[in-house]
């Protein structure tokens, strides 16, 4: 029997976990991603706030492939498929098209920003979902300070007001990191500027920050942010965004040149493009074993999949978080392993183990909710957050670099990579 060919679309947490779980299986694996690197999304906010360099949170996929005999990589975009013939159509960056046949297709294409159709967000908002987003936000933030330094009257127009929308972990983390950047680093960098006038406004439509956390953690996060100067506005939505104004649903208008959009994601539209049935927020419908019904050999995992929470809550979908992606990727890989070993597909249902959630709130502060009711906050939570994220980072080198950077930042109150740098391609590139 020929070796099975498993094609995995997406080199995020889910796709990489699936690929690694297949390392010893008698299959050939091809990982497809439009970038040649895996992005460690939980630390993108630190790139956006000059705490880490972009290379620190990016890990070359071929670094994994080089160490795994049965793993190949294709830098390409999926432009379609013939699911009956089990052929995937790829487009390479320079427009060559390639047909890739597969026995198993694992769709792990992740999510993208959801702006919920709020006017102006698509155009003016800064999402924080991929590496380009993070670098773009970093450039923009630093440019606001350069502009205000050259012409302080711009501050009256909101040049140094930064509105962060979304009170989940990303919003909380970016708001905390922004105030810290301003107070700790840019205050020294811009001595002639009244940096105290820089504002960070965190807007959340629910009444509490960090929705899924316990009230104690929620209150701690709000208090820590407020103490550090973040203006927290809960229970209000953004109604409209222009280049220099953010209008809230209660009519308030904030003069602000920056809107960070951390309010929600929707599934990568690949599901619909492949003709798969999609449900809420475009997520691909999967069975309890994460197989896509009607299309034998097709699986979906992570953010792109509508995985029903099997723990009793009727029909609730699992959250779009890294641990879900990793665990679902491993689950599908194990199903495929069985088939490759000549067994019938076990069709065993995926069970998510919730290992807790965490969010940092700037220097030395965090909240963490772990299994068995363990709740940490303040410095211990922050240490737990650091340790966990170092462990999760792909690549030993990146771990060392991130650790060294964190230690340096913590020790010196410095931020090294506060660079305004765009790598514009030339016209003919």
């Amino acid at each position: 029997m020929d070796r099975l060919h498993v094609v995995i679309v997406g080199a995020g947490f889910g796709g990489l976990a699936a690929a690694r779980e297949l390392a010893d299986a008698p299959v050939d694996v091809t990982l497809v991603d439009q970038n040649n690197f895996h992005t460690f999304q939980p630390l993108l906010y630190q790139v956006a706030t000059s705490g880490l360099a972009s290379a620190d949170v990016a890990y070359p996929v071929r670094g994994s492939a080089a160490r795994q005999e049965n793993l190949a990589f294709r830098q390409a975009t999926v432009i379609g498929a013939d699911l009956d013939a089990r052929v995937l159509h790829l487009q390479h960056p320079e427009h060559e098209v390639e047909d890739l046949t597969y026995d198993h297709l694992v769709v792990a294409a992740g999510a993208t920003t959801n702006t919920f159709g709020i006017p102006g967000v698509d155009h003016h908002g800064f999402p924080l979902y991929n590496l380009a987003d993070a670098v773009r936000l970093r450039n923009h933030v630093l440019e606001r300070f350069e502009a205000a330094d050259a012409d302080p009257s711009l501050m009256d127009d909101g040049a140094l007001t930064f509105v962060v929308v979304g009170g989940g972990p990303t919003g909380v983390e970016v708001a905390g990191a922004l105030t810290e950047l301003f107070q700790v680093v840019l205050r020294k960098d811009f001595r002639q500027l009244d940096v105290d006038r820089a504002r960070v406004v965190l807007v959340e439509m629910q009444d509490q920050l960090l929705g899924p956390f316990s009230p104690v953690s929620q209150a701690h996060a709000r208090e820590a942010l407020t103490q550090r100067g973040v203006e927290v506005r809960t229970g209000v939505q953004v109604a409209r965004v222009r280049a220099n104004r953010v209008t809230l649903a209660d009519g308030e208008e904030l003069a602000a040149h920056t809107l960070v959009w951390a309010a929600g994601v929707k599934a990568n539209p690949i599901g619909a493009a492949l003709g798969l049935r999609t449900g809420r927020a475009g997520r691909i419908e999967v069975g309890p074993d994460l197989a896509v019904s009607d299309h034998p050999g097709v699986w979906a995992i992570g953010d792109v999949a509508a995985i029903v929470d099997g723990r009793g809550r009727d029909g609730t979908l699992l959250p779009q978080l890294a641990p879900v992606a990793i665990q679902s990727g491993r689950h599908v890989a194990r199903q495929i392993c069985c088939v490759a070993a000549g067994q019938a597909p076990p069709r065993s249902p995926f069970r998510y183990r919730d290992k807790g959630t965490m969010a940092t709130i700037g220097r030395s502060r965090a909240v963490a909710e772990l299994p068995f009711g363990i709740r940490l906050r303040g410095f211990p939570a922050w240490l737990a957050w650091l340790g966990l994220h170092l462990l999760m980072l792909a690549g030993f080198r990146n771990r060392i670099s991130v650790f060294a950077n964190w230690f340096w930042n913590w020790l010196t109150y410095d931020r090294g990579p506060r660079l305004i740098f765009r790598s514009r391609p030339r016209a003919d590139d």
Copy 2:
């Protein structure tokens, strides 16, 4: 008496050195650069060949300004000046215009690539003079491998042939680092590709590489490069460049998708734009004290200045190298210090102390020519090169990061930041 205002245009080696030398002088200093960071140009070739991350060779100028009381910074481009009124016209990135009055103007705007009008080089060549150049080349090189992996027939068209033009230190270093990247890293990354077919061709119009070095060092460099698989072509010029072909003056046509242009620089055109008298390759004419005649208070240093070598060789200009820039920057700063202290300008002539030159040729190999006839090659030269460049790097953090990266690369034969990443701005940015 009011404090003198010294405006320095350019935050390269020369501009930074001048600014630092003025730290204790009773003057106010404004450093102007179009980027908010200083670029450590000698290591750009390592960014281009995935050895270092872009943040490793960029140091935020405001990091210097934060530590130096009398130093301010403006991120802006010089668009003109009224030299009689001593006013400099700046344009900020968002197009606001600012007039900056000065008592002393130090032009330290560096150089730019000189393509000598050879057809196609402007359009298809990859220069290696600033950070954007380095990242663009890195992306391009890695993309050639991704493309060839997806379609090996592209190799016949030259997808994996890399022509480096210019046998000076930059050309030698980039050629050596490219072969090393291919043989040590990409061979593992692209297991399905015959990476041995990748070619690096180094073209130099003179008969020897490393023109200013001794024949012994020249021979060593050629031998080391050849040993590592670089095809060295001396005594021949490039006649014409197309997207996938490089035509040499002797009629040979190389199928190559990449031309690295390291064959020469010319002065930043700012001299002519300001109405200053320029000489060879656009360099601003200066007196022996580096003052620009006819324009009291204007000085020029480093690559942009036509500094006559005072060591006897009639009319020869000093080379466009970092040590010249640094020493000339300090010299001008000391002249200005005297004036600020109320003394007459000393008009003392600038004397360049040649502290030697070095070039690496990949892993563990280099040539170095130091004063007193000391010549090193091989491993000792490589260690000397490493040490000197670590010392020269601006910023303790960058030093640590570069050192750690080098140690890692040397130990593991890995290259971390082999990322294809462009931080494209959004349309409205």
